[in-house]
């Protein structure tokens, strides 16, 4: 009976096939939503079955599996899909190709389910490629727009590259380990991890899988496809930012035991993740286009996710991608509704955040900056250290999470401040809201992170932390946290309270250079243009 759950990836394809023959336009979303609800129900039942019986469901000759990872991700993707379909019902009504949109949406969800539930590298490769082509057709949905088609080409080139790297990694895996079955491979890798392994081929395989994941998850330098997909319909943006980019993290989780054997790959993941997180967060603040800003925000978050993987916190990466997905999908869907509402009203409707925090106060003294700095730097750190001291040592099994949390919080608040301009206000409410957000994030991360870790990997989770040799000590994390937060807040307040001199003093050249570098997104397109003209 429970094997029926393994049919989940095929349900969206059946829906797509049915939609092809539905004549009435208004029936298209209804059929799609009704049948997609079945996936949600099946997913929830599957999760209940896996959790309550403490077992996994395997079928189709071991090609598909509904395990702990699927138990978390399938209901999440299914519910997300349902919300997006419901949203698109009205949002896409006037667009040409209404039916095409729902059919493509079903294909992309099928690819995601297949990817999550695959227990075989070949099935994973098929899902990986299905995702690429579905994404291409969805991003270029507005086929009449040259910009949309051009942007879709960027998406496709990157994803095709990811596909090839992924295929090479699979070929080498089969040649080295003699199997495509992930369950068999994972056992083999776990067994091998007990002895010292120093095989360059394993490193190559790990690196190829990491590169493939980086390309799909828009990690720098393969990030450019994500911020430049603003022409895609809003529901597609929501799918991309909440679903598609996460597949890199899902892949690395499926190959967690392989990465045990190659700590160097984990270290590389940490470094590229760190680099992406910092640079994308900076770019997010500098770019003028709101959708691109959101795109860079996602790139930054994916950077954190890869960082977490690099630190051996695989389960935390899963938690991160779910939380980020919900947050980003909400933002995108909300932005779409807002635009639609704004077309009917002369003024934008007031947002809750606006009403809560917006109080324009002109009396801002530069001396206050340091008070704020102290407040924002010291309070969270004191709170954190206090918790650390009060609670037992086992509560924080990975000190590195402090750094990740600090980064995440910093970006979140920066995004918040940038969007709603609350930094101009010196309201105490803003301060309390931001500090409390940090505490909430801290607790949810720790509680759910640890619970998830036990659920997904049990005691094996400790092996991952041991393998990630770049583990950050508490002192190092503490110092980094303080430095990063201070710098972040200094820049934030400087940006808003800086006194612009009217004298003809020369601007700081280095600062301008840095700003110009960020504003032009690392001169990426200029370089491309030069190459196109054949000047280099």
């Amino acid at each position: 009976m429970e094997k029926i759950i393994l049919l989940i990836p095929s349900i969206p394809i059946v829906i797509a096939f049915i939609l092809f023959f539905v004549r009435k336009k208004e029936l298209i979303p209804k059929v799609s939503i009704m049948l997609s609800s079945m996936v949600v129900l099946l997913g929830l039942y599957g999760s209940y079955y896996v959790i309550s019986n403490d077992t996994v469901i395997v079928g189709f000759d071991g090609l598909l599996i509904y395990n702990e990872l699927s138990a978390i991700l399938v209901p999440y993707v299914a519910i997300l899909g349902l919300v997006i379909r419901k949203y698109a019902t009205k949002y896409m009504w006037d667009e040409a190709g209404y039916r095409r949109f729902f059919i493509l949406l079903n294909f992309i969800f099928s690819a995601i389910y297949l990817l999550v539930m695959s227990n075989n590298l070949i099935v994973l490769a098929l899902a990986w490629q299905l995702l690429s082509i579905s994404l291409y057709l969805l991003v270029s949905f507005n086929v009449g727009s040259n910009t949309a088609v051009k942007q879709a080409r960027w998406v496709m080139f990157t994803h095709k590259g990811a596909d090839l790297v992924f295929l090479f990694a699979i070929v080498l895996t089969y040649k080295t380990f003699g199997s495509f079955d992930l369950a068999i491979l994972s056992e083999k890798w776990l067994e091998m991890s007990k002895t010292s392994v120093n095989d360059p081929m394993i490193f190559t395989i790990g690196l190829l899988f990491l590169i493939a994941a980086m390309m799909k998850s828009a990690i720098m330098p393969f990030h450019i496809w994500l911020p430049y997909t603003s022409e895609a319909p809003t529901p597609v943006s929501a799918v991309m930012h909440a679903g598609v980019v996460n597949v890199g993290g899902i892949l690395l989780n499926k190959l967690a035991y392989l990465l045990l054997l190659t700590p160097l790959v984990l270290n590389i993941a940490f470094i590229v993740g760190l680099f992406t997180a910092i640079l994308a967060s900076l770019l997010m603040l500098v770019v003028s286009d709101i959708k691109r800003s959101l795109g860079y925000s996602t790139v930054g978050q994916m950077g954190y996710m890869i960082m977490e993987v690099g630190l051996g916190a695989f389960s935390l990466a899963i938690y991160h991608l779910i939380v980020h997905g919900i947050f980003k999908a909400t933002l995108f869907l909300d932005s779409g509704s807002l635009i639609k509402l704004a077309r009917h009203e002369s003024n934008l409707p007031k947002r809750l955040t606006y009403e809560l925090f917006w109080e324009e106060k002109i009396k801002n003294k530069s001396a206050k900056i340091f008070n704020y700095l102290a407040l924002f730097t010291i309070i969270p750190v004191v709170v954190f250290v206090g918790i650390k001291m009060v609670l037992s040592e086992e509560f924080f099994q990975f000190n590195a999470s402090i750094v990740i949390l600090a980064f995440a919080w910093l970006t979140g608040t920066q995004l918040f401040l940038s969007f709603f301009k609350v930094s101009k206000s010196d309201s105490l409410k803003v301060l309390l809201a931001l500090v409390s957000s940090f505490i909430i994030i801290l607790f949810t991360y720790e509680f759910i992170g640890v619970t998830l870790e036990h659920f997904l990997y049990g005691y094996d989770a400790l092996l991952f932390y041991q393998a990630a040799t770049l583990n950050v000590s508490f002192m190092m994390s503490f110092i980094m946290l303080a430095i990063i937060m201070t710098i972040g807040w200094y820049f934030m307040y400087k940006q808003h309270y800086v006194v612009v001199s009217k004298n003809d003093t020369q601007a700081n050249g280095l600062k301008w250079l840095f700003y110009s570098f960020l504003a032009k997104e690392g001169y990426f397109f200029r370089i491309i243009r030069i190459f196109k003209k054949g000047k280099v």
Binding site: D61, L63, A96, G97, R100, N120, I122, V123, A125, L126, Q129, L130, S132, I133, L137, S140, V143, G144, N146, V149, R153, M156, K160, D163, L164, L167, F168, I170, V171, L172, Y174, K175, F180
Partner: protein, 243 residues
């Protein structure tokens, strides 16, 4: 040795279209039909004749494929694109010996679909040239859908058999330098060519100077049949790859 060379020529290992294109008698349509027939002969022959891949032949067909990719990027004619694609994929047939036959058969079926689209364009728009016949997806969804299917199959994406046989062979073979070069070239070559057609005729704003013609039921049924055939081949592809 002789059988290898015969198969090599039949499977489009050398760009013999260069000579045919120079003649005035051979229209693109006939070159396509000839190359497709020869490829089919190679597929049938490979079932009876022992085929052993020789690196020198793989290299020749590889350079021929590169040249054909270049030629394909310069054309906007469906017929020409059709036979260029046969030459582009020849190294695969030669490199993977008998196993390449199923891949070539899938290629041939997809190209028959493309050929019928070319015939449709030829009949209704005066030639098989797709230049300036933009936005087909928007104005003629059926043609758009069929063409999208064929192009996705040619671009080596699942669930179409071209991709499945391609993956199946590369997973089961022993990689070496020639292997990496051929696989990478075909993987990207087919993709670029298919995407180019998508961009130029499926996408874009519909051209107001063109009267877009509907596909009749008979044509729809034929294309539907070809797509079903592709899916049947996909079934074999899945079987070969997963079981």
């Amino acid at each position: 040795m002789i059988s290898d060379i015969v198969l090599f020529i039949l499977a489009a290992g050398v760009p013999y279209y260069i000579f045919l294109e120079k003649g005035t008698k051979f229209h693109g349509k006939y070159i396509f039909l000839l190359s497709a027939f020869l490829l089919l002969s190679a597929i049938v022959l490979s079932l009876f004749v022992e085929n052993e891949h020789r690196t020198s032949l793989v290299w020749i067909s590889f350079f021929s494929a590169l040249f054909s990719i270049y030629k394909a990027t310069k054309t906007t004619n469906f017929y020409k694109l059709g036979y260029y694609l046969i030459f582009v994929n020849a190294p695969f047939f030669i490199l993977f010996e008998d196993a390449g036959a199923m891949y070539s058969l899938s290629l041939l079926v997809s190209l028959i679909g493309l050929y019928l689209i070319a015939k449709f364009y030829d009949k209704n728009y005066g030639s098989a040239n797709y230049h300036n016949i933009t936005g087909t997806t928007l104005v003629r969804p059926y043609i758009g859908t069929f063409l999208t299917f064929y192009l996705i199959a040619l671009a080596l994406y699942p669930p179409f058999p071209n991709s499945l046989f391609f993956l199946s062979h590369i997973f089961k073979s022993e990689p070496n330098l020639v292997w990496y070069i051929v696989v990478t070239t075909l993987f990207f070559g087919n993709f670029f060519l298919a995407m180019r057609v998508m961009r130029e005729t499926l996408f874009g704003r519909p051209n107001p100077n063109i009267h877009y013609v509907h596909m009749n039921s008979k044509d729809k049924a034929i294309h539907f049949f070809i797509i079903m055939l592709l899916f049947i081949l996909s079934g074999f592809g899945f079987k070969e790859m997963l079981l």
